[in-house]
Amino acid sequence: MLHHIVLRVIAKFIIPVIMVFALYVQFHGDYSPGGGFQAGVIFSAALILYGLVFGLDNVMDVLPADLLKTLAAVGVLLYAGVGFETMLLGGNFLDYDLLAERATEGQHLGILLVELGVGITVASVMLLLYYAFVGREVDR
């Protein structure tokens, strides 16, 4: 594997930077272009890069497929859970005004939680797609 050494060194520098950038895009989506979808895809791109350079077995050790399946469901349930929470507090489905004292704070909290749910689901599903496609044995 010595002929891949340039790739390995550069990947070790860049992967944490990509992950931090994904978190920045996720939480700064209120003030600049960004949000849950973009952040989820960028985060999964960091892990796909790790899988391309270091091998599929290594990336499946870092994030096992069972954990990803659970996380994908957790993201959707977080989103729907916020909706049901507002119904339990007496309003309509996904009516964020009721989540805090003032309406705008409730909206902020609701949008934050909802975008987090979207980001978690998108990141786990993109990584699961990569695992499924690349892990398929070629029998020719």
Binding site: V25, E115, V122
Partner: protein, 186 residues
Amino acid sequence: MIEVAIDVILLAFMAVVALAVVRMHDLFAVAMLFAVFSLLSAGVFTVMDAADVAFTEAAVGAGVSTILMLATLTKTGREERHIRSAVRPVPLVVVFTTGALLIFGTSDLPRLGDAEAPVHTHVAPRYLEQSEEEIGIPNVVTSVLASYRGYDTLGETTVIFTAGVAVLALLGLRRRRRTARTEDDH
């Protein structure tokens, strides 16, 4: 004026790339042109003031879609079978007729960028004006996506989840071998 020039140049590049995809037989090159097409469209979206859309198109189209297409090509083979006559008459006639009808149909749309067009005067000003006091975050696209039209975004998240479930049902995951992992043939 410079924006119009950039816009026309990028769209011309996209047309050239699309025509190259028609003509090429090496599918690896077609996958690379796929990524180039998606990146050029992200450029067009940026020139047309759609920053969120450009971000998503660049990440999704030039990133994840290209990876999946290359992974498919490792399983299905790299060459498209050559056909003798490259231009078929019947599809060409169908495509020309559809294109002519569409251009005729869009010929009485309002001029590009017209601020008095009907699409800009009904719902959009209400969102742009009321978003500051009702929601209070500067990014109007996020506030429309997550709050005003939040129910659609829930449906979209469910679609992504369903696509993940469908691909897992079709392809499955590799069972990790519990035996020796010392020889790694990657």
